[in-house]
Structures are given as C-alpha cells and as structure tokens.
C-alpha cells in the first residue's frame, strides 16, 4: 500500500474512547503529551507575565529613582517603604526576573512546550517514550516555580545575588538579606528544575531516536525536531553540572564546607572557610550557563525555520547546512563558557583560547541567518502572525548576534563586561529572539493545541507594538554600556556621568511599559480564542509536516488509525510541476510523478528508472 488512509476505520488499542478519563487524569495528572505541552505553555506564560511585571518594577525604579510611588508600598509593603523600592529588593527583582525568564520561561516554557507538543506529532509517534516521566517532568517544573515564587513571602526576601548567584555573595547570608532563606529556596527550586528538564530531555531524545514512524529517517525530520533533539542533548549533558555546582553551594551554605569560600572577612568577623575558590562556581555554572543560552535559542531557531519555510511557501534553504550548523553550535557551545569569565582574573591564556572558540561559534550562526534570508528570497510570503514573529526573531538574532562579536572578544570584553552593553546584547539575542520564537510557535501551533484559531488582527497589533518597543528598550542600552554604566545598578544618581542617562531610562521604561501592555492583546487573544476562536481546519497553514495529518479533535494516540508513513522531506513547498504549492510528507513519490526531481530519490536506481520511464511516456502530453 503506497499511502496511509486516514479514513481507515481500524482502531488500535490507543484509539479514543477506550479508557475512562476523569477531569483529574485529563487535565491535571495527564500523561498525554499534548496536554503536558499545554500545561508547560500556560505555566510558562504565567511565569513570563510575573517576570515581566518584576522587570517593570525595576524599570520604574531606574527611570524615577527619586520619586515616591505610594501604590508600590500598598502592594510590596516593606520592600517599598515610602513608595520607593529598596536596593535589596531591586537586586531581588533583577535576580528573580532573570532566573524566571531564563529557566522557567525560555527553557521550560519554550522547549518544554514545543518538545512535548511537536516531537510525537512530527516524528509520528503515539506519545512520548515514557509518558509517566513526562508527567513528572511537568510536576517537578511546577514545584520549582512555586518554590521560587514562595521565596517572595519570606522575611528576608528572595535570592538577590543576580541570576548567576556568584558566591560568596550568594553563599554568606551576612553578605545580603537575599542570601538567607531566599537563596536556599532558589537552590532547592533549581535542583527540582534540573530534575524536571532532565526527565524531559531524556524522554525527548529517546522518543526521537526510537519512535519515528516508518520512513521518517533522520534526514527527513523537520528542523524543529532537529533543534529540539539537539537542545535536549545539550540539556542532558550540561544540566547535571549545574546540579553538582548547586549541591556544593548548598554544602558551603549549610554544612560549613569551603568549596567556593576562602579568606572571607565581613566587617571584622573572619569566617573559618579556607581553601575554596569562588571561580570554581563560575566554571561549573557557566559550563551549564553557556549551553543554556543555546538551549534557549535553538528551539526558537528550529521553530522559526519551520514557520519561515511554511509561510514563504519555499523549502528552507540549505536544510543540511541548517542541521550541521545546529550541530556545530551544539558542540561548540560546550567549549565557550570561559567567555563569561574573561575578567575574573583567570589565566589570560585561557581567555585567549575561549575567545577563539567563541568567535568560531559565530560562523554557524551566520550560516543560519543567511539561510533564513535565502529562504525568503523569491518566496511568496504570507504574513501570518507566526511568520511576523519568525521574521522578528531573525532581526533580533542578527542585532543581538552581532554585538556578541564584541563581547566574545576578550580584549573588548574588558571594558564591556558587566555593563549595559551585555544587558542589551543578551536581551536581544536570547531574550527577545527566543521569546519571539516562542510566540511564533504559539501562533503557529495554536490550532493544533486548541483546535481553534487566534485572531490575526489582534496578533498583528501584538507583534508590531512588541517588535518596535523591544528595539526601543534594548537598542539605547548599548550606549549606556559603551559609556561604562555597569548593570544591576539600583540608581544612576550617585555618579555624575550617569545623570545624562536618566532621560533615556525614562524613555526605555515607558517603552517597556507599552510593550508589557501589548502583551495583554496576546493574553486576551490566547485565552479568548481557546473558547471563542474560529474553529480550525485540519491543516490551516497548508503545511507538510505530520502533525497536520492528525484530526483537529485531540485523541490519546494522535492518529485514529495507523500512524502514517513518511515518504519525503518536510519542505516540498511550491515544487514545480506539483498541483498545489505543498506536498505533505505522507504523499508518496508515485503520486507526484509530475513534480519529482532526480535529487528526490537519493540514488535509488529503481525509482529513478521508473521516473525516467514515466517522463518518457508523458513527455508528449505535457508538451
């Protein structure tokens, strides 16, 4: 049989209606990957909103450092006595904003959501390799979120040593109030989070390697799957190192060890710790921390590859190059962590080596960018909301990526390290770009997740306000950095030379507030469309990938009949000679004789012979 019929009445054991589902098993303790994806997404969105509100709070402090906002005291109590945010709380805001965004939103919310949703659907599997582990992954993640948020309700406040929690600042409660119970909760939350992402990652990798449908060889996988696969590999290899680091920090904090501590004096009190080194933490942290930024951006790149191809109605340009550059990024990301440590005082020779590896990583990134541009070239671009966000991602990826060339250069990093230049750089390249990837994914796969369409016009409004405001927020910040303004400064009032940036700060804060308000358009659209949106058709974007062959109504097991077989790569858009401008992966070459190219057969002589015979037979007809 050459095609799989979706109307096949044969039901296998996984078919719908077989087991009784309660509310609890369907929505709460669900083991269905689609439901878990939604749980990840909605938790991620809630965390994103919280982190965004935190950022607005500290942006208010930065813009109006001398002004009192009595309303802040109403909400924050002693953290904003007299209507002014306290320095300690400012640092807590910055820290928790960073932690939530990097780990809970852009790792769990992005790769957790789309790995869960897309891996089984796009490789053609009924569910994840281990649905139970998958469920646990979500629950560990949720616990991590709750514990992190719980730290806001402690007497001494949440962790506030920056999201990188460098000891000794984070290790000695005397150094700052946030390093008390708040820091303990941070560490507990992080261990749970790493456990969650490891359970997720192992699941993703095993599903992709073992559960692909018939015909789905690795080189026929969509780029989303490649990206999610390599992301999961990165996570599995790097997250355990963070746990090791975190456990040592717990030991230092609670059991009097000295892994990171030595020669410490607070006031005149000499601490007994001896022989440790704070630099060790930085090595362990950044050994995860740098792959982490690729864990954040690679799923976004994969999602945008897919979306750009679908909506430009063109095959992604250089599919193999895209995969190889993802692999290159994956491998290189393990040997560049030292570029976060150029000015720690580590051996300058190491700095030189890490500079070389860091700048090499710009090559695969450049290849990816150029391939995106080439995909758009002579396309027939439909500006669906997802496509807008994908193009926005490419723009941010370029803007933020280029400033990385400055920071990756050890000699330039001397003057730019820990300044606003860094803030601007990573907010564009991994913050905004990854968020845009996530939003693009939400708009694109919303019909798959909820069976309804989101309102495109509201989405356009959302995109344009967010896109413009993101640039208005982050572009000027580069100049603060070039001026030598360090990050994580509570107020710009104490140094004469910083006063001139106060007006810029006001502008940036207003842009951030407008961008935040624009998210209400998204939130409204997201939750409203869930119930009232237009009903989606099976394949609303005319895409080729497998997930659009499943019925709109979700069922456990994804396909009502047999799992479809895959015959071709996922990017046959606008193929000359084809009737429509897309040929789904499930359509065999025997049905598309008029559009087959010699390249399609990958050296299969038998198929080539048949094709040649067909062409010879049909030549007079076509001419």
């Amino acid at each position: 049989m050459s095609t799989i019929s979706l109307h096949d009445t044969h039901h296998d054991d996984h078919g719908h209606g077989h087991h009784h589902e309660t509310f609890l098993t369907k929505y709460v303790f669900s083991q269905d990957h689609k439901m878990i994806a939604k749980q990840f997404l909605i938790t991620g969105i809630i965390m994103a909103v919280i982190a965004m509100l935190l950022s607005i709070l500290f942006r208010i402090q930065l813009a109006w450092p001398d002004k009192s906002f009595p309303l802040l005291e109403t909400f924050l109590g002693k953290w904003a006595e007299g209507g002014r945010i306290k320095p300690d709380f400012f640092l807590a805001l910055v820290t928790i904003h960073g932690t939530i965004m990097v780990f809970f939103v852009l790792t769990a919310g992005l790769s957790g959501t789309f790995s869960n949703l897309l891996i089984p659907l796009q490789v053609g599997a009924r569910d994840m390799a281990s649905p139970f582990l998958n469920m646990l992954s979500y629950w560990f993640f949720l616990a991590a979120c709750l514990i992190m948020m719980g730290s806001f309700f402690t007497q001494t406040g949440p962790a506030s040593a920056g999201w990188t929690v460098y000891p000794p600042l984070s290790a000695v409660p005397k150094a700052m109030p946030g390093s008390g119970i708040g820091m303990t909760l941070w560490l507990v939350s992080m261990v749970l989070f790493v456990a969650s992402s490891l359970m997720g990652g192992i699941n993703y990798v095993s599903t992709i390697l073992n559960m692909r449908t018939k015909g789905m060889d690795l080189w026929k996988m969509p780029l989303t799957i490649w990206a999610l696969f390599l992301t999961a590999v990165l996570g599995i290899l790097s997250f355990p190192v963070l746990v090791a680091g975190v456990v040592l920090l717990v030991f230092d904090r609670s059991f009097g060890t000295s892994f990171y501590l030595s020669d410490l004096v607070f006031g005149t009190q000499i601490l007994p710790n001896e022989g440790g080194s704070p630099i060790l933490w930085q090595h362990l942290f950044w050994f995860l921390g740098h792959p982490e930024v690729y864990i954040v951006i690679m799923p976004a790149l994969g999602i945008s590859s897919e979306i750009i191809s679908v909506n430009a109605r063109k095959p992604i340009f250089g599919y193999h190059a895209m995969v190889y550059s993802l692999m290159g990024i994956t491998i290189l990301s393990f040997i560049v962590w030292g570029h976060h440590m150029f000015v720690t005082g580590m051996n300058p020779l190491l700095g030189g080596v890490f500079m070389i590896t860091t700048l090499i990583i710009a090559v695969p990134s450049a290849v990816k960018t150029f391939n995106y541009l080439a995909t758009l070239w002579r396309g027939n671009i439909r500006f669906t909301p997802a496509m807008l966000f994908a193009i926005g991602l490419v723009s941010f990826f370029i803007s933020g990526g280029l400033t990385g060339i400055f920071l990756g250069n050890a000699s330039l990093d001397i003057n730019l390290h820990d300044t606003y230049f860094v803030v601007a750089h990573f907010h564009l390249v991994m913050g905004s770009a990854a968020i845009f990837g996530m939003l693009a994914g939400v708009y694109h796969w919303y019909p798959k997740m909820f069976g309804r369409m989101m309102n495109p016009k509201l989405a356009y409004l959302h995109f344009w306000v967010t896109f413009i405001c993101a640039y208005l927020v982050f572009f000027p910040l580069h100049f603060l950095g070039l001026d030598g303004v360090p990050r994580r400064y509570y107020a710009f009032t104490e140094f004469e030379f910083m006063n001139k940036w106060l007006t810029v700060n006001v502008f940036v804060t207003w842009s951030a507030i407008i961008a935040a308000l624009a998210q209400i358009a998204f939130l409204f659209n997201f939750f409203y469309s869930m119930f009232r949106g237009k009903k989606a058709t099976q394949n609303p974007w005319n895409a080729n990938t497998l997930e659009w062959t499943t019925p709109v109504e979700h069922l456990h097991g994804n396909w009502p009949g047999e799992i479809p077989t895959v015959y071709r790569w996922p990017y046959d858009y606008s193929k000359p000679g084809a009737e429509e401008d897309f040929i789904p992966q499930t359509v065999p070459f025997s049905q598309t004789m008029s559009s087959n190219l010699p390249h399609d057969f990958e050296g299969n002589e038998e198929a080539e012979r048949i094709q040649k015979e067909w062409e010879a037979a049909n030549k007079p007809v076509t001419e």
Binding site: L169, T268, I381, I414, H599
Partner: protein, 406 residues
Amino acid sequence: MAALAVLFTVFTSANAFAQEAAAATTAKPVDMGPVHKNAIFYVLMFLLLCLFIAIVGKALKVYELTRETQGKPEGINWNTVNAVIFALFLIVGLYGVYWEYSVHGKMISHMHEAASEHGQRIDEMFKLTLIITTIVFILTHIVLFAFAYFYRASDQRKAYYYPHNNTIEKIWTIVPALVLTLLVLKGFLTWRSIFYKVEDPKNRPISIEVTSSQFLWDIRYAGPDAVVGKKNYKLITAINNLGIDFNDKNSLDDLMAEEIVLPVNKPVRFILTSKDVIHSFYMPHFRVQLNTVPGMTSYFEFTPTITTDEMRTKLNDPKFNYILLCAKICGANHFNMQKNVRVVSEKEYQEWLTKQTPYLTNDLRKAFNLPVPVEAAPAAEQAPADTAATAAKVALDVNNQLALKK
C-alpha cells in the same frame, strides 16, 4: 438562615478588617486618595484604549463581512499591510540607528579617547569590529525587510523552489569565517599585549594594592621601597582593617590613600584583592576591568596617558573626573562604590605622595610588638580618648579571634 448568618459574620469581619486597614492608612502621612484616583484614572484610560481597539476590530470585521456577502474580494490585504509596515520599519529603523549612533554616540564623547596605552589598542579593535558589524547589521536588515516587502504573498506568483546551492552556502560559511579569523587574530594580539607584559627594568611599574569590601575600596601605595607588603586576612582587626602583616618589612612604609592618584605615562600595576565578596575593579576611561576575588590576587598593569587636567581641556568639561566603579553585583550599595581617580604629572604625584599617611600607627606598632618612636607620643596625647577606645577594641578583637581559632 445559617448561610445568611455566615455571610453576615463574614461581612462584619471583613468590615472590621477594612476599619483596621483604614486606621493603619490614616496613621501614615501619605494621603492615598489622590494616588488611588490616579491609578484608577490610568486603568480607565487603558480600558478606554482597549475599547477603542475593540471597536476598530469590530468595524474591520463588519467591513470584511459586508464585502464577503457582496461577493467582492477581501477588503484589506493584510499581507500587503504587513509588508508595507516592514518597509516603513526598515526606513524609520535605519534613520533610528543613524540617530542613535549620532546622538547617543555623542553622549559618550568622554569615552571616545582611551586614557591609557592599551586602551588605544582596544579602541582600535573596537572600531574595526564596530565598522564590520554595522555594515553587516545594515545590509542584512535591508535584505531581510526588503525581501519581506517584495516577496509578499500574491496569487499571481508561485514561490521559487530553491532548496539549496552548495556554492553559495560555502561562500557564506567561508567569508564570515575569514572575517572572524581576522577579528580573532587582532583580538588575540591585543589581549596578549595587555596581559603578557615584559617588564622594562628601567621603567618598573608602581605598585598599588586595592582591597574591595562591601562597599568601599581601600587603597595601599607601596611607599619608598616600591613593594607592597604582605597581608593576611586572619590579621584583620578594627585597627588593621586590611590585615597587613607588619612583620613583613615591606609593609612598614606602606601608605594609605584616600584616592587613587597616578603619574601620567608611568606604568602602574594594580594588585587586586577582596575581603568579602567578588567586586569588579572597573575604570572605563582607562579600559581597565578585573574582578577582585576573595582568596585570590589578580593583577592589572597599564599606563595612563592623559592627565585629568588635559582631559578636562580636551572635553571642555572642567568637572570631568576619572572614575572607579564596581561592576560586579556585590550587595545593596553596589551602585555607589566610588573612588576618586586622578592622573597627574610626575611632580604633582611625588608631592601628593609625601602627604599620605603610613598604615602603620602606634597602636599597630604595639599590636605587632614593634618599637614605638618617641616623637609620636604627643600625637597620642592629643587624642587619648580615641586611642583608649581603639585599644579596647583591639583587645576585644584579639579575644574574638582567639575564640574563632578555638
């Protein structure tokens, strides 16, 4: 009835809470009335905006539906709308980038010229990188948004099936690789020239030790012997806040300084240490930054080339000063860890140096069992109370230390 009773009690207790809350607020000086009115005003304004957007949305929908019922093609081609906005975004954005470079670029004019030898090399590196990245930034964005505009969807056209082209892909792998090789090489050489210095015996750097702690910098000059003496954190007491080991002869002449004063065109070697948490010794005008790490000593050597006065005339800003900042998050007062930095002529430097007081005080001499010079006695008499207090403190601290050691 029971339910009503429950409701009633809930209501009264809520009322009681409200009264308590009201009492609490009246106790405070801030009148929350106008604040709440303000907040409500802004919320209403925002809701009004939402309403406006909703009305526009509905109007668009009505328009489209009427066109649909009349059998006309879609009224608004959103592909075109978005494509045009992309084109506009490109034009306005390019102007915005120009504006940023010129206006905000001008605001950092005091950073334009590095005030140190190696800083000038860093700036060269920076300029080269800036030129290359700006060109790439502008070109790729023109391409990106122009493609978005020109290749917007149209029913008349079909996209061009173009899955790959190995030659082009090789070109845009190799060209960035070559450009980056250039940047890496230059960066590597610059980096080496900063951190691998061959010491010139005729022009030895002066040594200055910086100790960071929450939230201040302690400066120690080497004194006449040009060597900064040893220190040990275990010796830290109230009178010996750096834990200087005065059994080391090199420590005896070390000078305490309230500010960093550097002679122009003379190499200076900063010895960076920290007492409590990691701080970062950052002097942006000299392109100098290195973390100060507890338990580890790091070094940064450089040569300042422009005096403060010269810089003031250059910038036409009589108030200009070099600055020292902390660039690594270190606690509540991270944002205000300053120290004045001055670059002066050699002569002024020597004069200034003679006015600095040594670290070694009589109390410290006593603590380290060193001979106390006789002429210092009157000074001690001038402030007998002070010394008595500090002496008592020393004794206390010694006790503390002993306790710790036990």
